[in-house]
């Protein structure tokens, strides 16, 4: 490994734009300057670009182009889906069901609605991060108007049984939304086949630009407008569209969903190699999440006796980028609520590091990273107030 080489193992936080996406965006920034709502040629050209991307997004998830709405990213899509459905369907009921391990943009949206008088049930998860399905069944009632459960969790990679949840929702005449932000490009999602009413997407998770995403809304769904103002996007979401970013988004999603099977196969092999190498190099470690019902891009590991942020900063010095808890939670004090929800104690949660791979991660990078992780964990353990033991021998 050359000196000063960066080994990026935080793809679940964000990804670098691919060269193809970058080039298309630069081109769009230059040429497509028009406001898509303007009726002269420059405007029509920008609008045509948007229509083309809508087709691409729709194709990626098995929807129709007129069911795709561009947003500023995943957080906005989640806010809109949850608040928009709740406020528009008050006459039908005031109960929402979600899970304890959702992204903060889902959880905080639910908390905000609770202040407006809505009731929210947060379904617990098991030790692998899978929602307790029987609790979900019990929770549904005559006042339930929305179920929002993420497709795949960003911290540990556990994938939820969304087909079963979609069927359950349909049987009870409840709208089903899924935050698919982490899943696009790794799980083949067809909203019609699965029976999903709304789905959130964020471009920067699959080599697209930051600040752009989409909400898929099934035709006929009663939802309130979230961003008020002009009548862009069929009068559903105001604001002049970020044309160049949307062009990048289109290219990114097209590429990401072109080879899901191949992509997943590669990620699986890299992840397997990483786990083998790291478990041989470092003792007293624990893998978090489900073994099979999972994204292959994520490996959440707890290093007994070594606090996560301390390990992260040691690795930072060697140009290796990883994450503790979720990216959004960094800077906050508390141990990951996802890990705590899975039954881990605060100390284990605090000693957890998330490694997330991409199709560009190589075995060479893994070898280099594991050696540096080994050294970092050893150093941090030597400072630690927590002593670790193997067969009653202090290590």
């Amino acid at each position: 490994m050359e000196k000063n080489k960066i080994v990026y193992l935080d793809n679940a936080a964000t990804t670098a734009m691919s060269n193809e996406v970058y080039c298309e965006m630069i081109d769009a920034y230059g040429k497509l300057y028009g406001n898509p709502s303007s009726i002269y040629k420059a405007g029509r050209e920008a609008d045509a670009a948007l229509r083309s991307v809508r087709e691409k997004v729709a194709k990626a998830i098995g929807a129709s182009a007129n069911e795709i709405y561009f947003t500023s990213g995943g957080s906005e899509a989640n806010n809109w889906a949850i608040k928009g459905i709740a406020r528009a369907n008050r006459d039908k009921g005031n109960h929402i069901i979600t899970s304890v391990i959702e992204h903060p943009s889902v959880l905080e949206s639910c908390k905000a609605l609770e202040k407006e008088g809505f009731k929210v049930t947060y379904i617990p998860v098991d030790e692998f991060g899978v929602i307790k399905y029987s609790e979900l069944v019990k929770a549904i009632g005559p006042n339930t108007i929305l179920i929002s459960i993420m497709t795949a969790n960003n911290e540990v990679g556990t994938v939820q049984p969304i087909k079963a949840i979609a069927e359950l929702a349909k049987a009870n005449d409840v709208i089903f939304h899924t935050d698919a932000v982490q899943a696009i490009g790794q799980i083949d999602l067809n909203v019609k086949d699965i029976g999903i009413d709304m789905l959130s997407i964020s471009a920067h998770k699959f080599n697209g630009p930051k600040g752009v995403g989409a909400l898929y809304i099934k035709k006929g769904t009663k939802i309130q407008k979230f961003i008020d103002g002009g009548e862009q996007q069929r009068n559903m979401r105001a604001g002049t569209e970020n044309v160049a970013a949307i062009v990048g988004f289109g290219k990114a999603i097209e590429d990401a969903t072109a080879n899901i099977e191949e992509n997943t196969k590669y990620l699986k092999s890299i992840r397997k190699y990483f786990l083998k190498t790291i478990s041989e190099a470092i003792h007293n470690i624990q893998l978090n999440g489900h073994n099979t019902q999972r994204l292959q891009s994520i490996a959440s590991i707890s290093f007994e006796g070594a606090e996560g942020e301390a390990v992260l900063m040691m690795l930072d010095r060697e140009g290796i980028y990883v994450s503790t808890g979720s990216a959004c939670a960094s800077g906050s004090n508390k141990p990951s609520y996802v890990l705590l929800a899975m039954g881990k104690d605060a100390e284990t949660a605090a000693s957890t590091v998330r490694f997330s791979f991409s199709k560009n991660t190589t075995k060479e990078e893994i070898d280099y990273a594991v050696e540096e992780i080994r050294k970092a964990v050893k150093k941090i353990r030597s400072i630690s107030a927590v002593r670790i033991y193997k067969n009653k021998v202090e290590l």
């Binding site: 006796g305 606090e307 996560g308 942020e309 301390a310 900063m313 040691m314 010095r317 960094s330 800077g331 906050s332 004090n333 508390k334 141990p335 104690d345 605060a346 100390e347 284990t348 949660a349 605090a350 000693s351 030597s382 400072i383 630690s384 107030a385 927590v386």
Partner: protein, 123 residues
């Protein structure tokens, strides 16, 4: 979130790591909520702290603050240590800036110092 150069240096090169066997006293602080543990060992002769060591299971600022606290303690009397090694004094030695969410690390170190002093006095 930004850590100062001084804080990071202290974290990357901590001083006085370890235990003092047959220490005069130990100050142990546990933060259950965040899962952090800080231990400061002291050697006392004629009311003066002649040696101090620490062990910390915690985040970057927690390690840096406890390391700095041991450096500040050595050579002081027990009373001087308990009085002068405050969270803000520790932060000052580490570049003078620590975000709100992480001041608890400095506070924890202050408490560990006071606990060690108190435990010596109790004997």
């Amino acid at each position: 979130m930004e850590y100062t150069e001084e804080l990071l240096n202290e974290f990357y090169n901590p001083a006085n790591v370890g235990v003092i066997k047959a220490a005069s006293a130990v100050g142990k602080i546990v933060d259950d909520e965040n899962g952090e543990i800080m231990k400061i060992y002291i050697s006392v002769e004629k009311n003066k702290i002649v040696d101090a060591k620490f062990q910390t299971y915690g985040c970057v600022p927690s390690i840096a603050c406890s390391s700095m606290a041991t450096k500040m303690m050595i050579g002081l009397t027990l009373e001087e240590a308990a009085a002068s090694i405050t969270a803000s004094a520790i932060v000052k030695e580490l570049g003078g800036k620590l975000s709100d969410t992480k001041t608890r690390s400095a506070e924890m170190a202050e408490k560990a110092v006071k606990a060690a002093v108190k435990n010596y006095s109790k004997k």
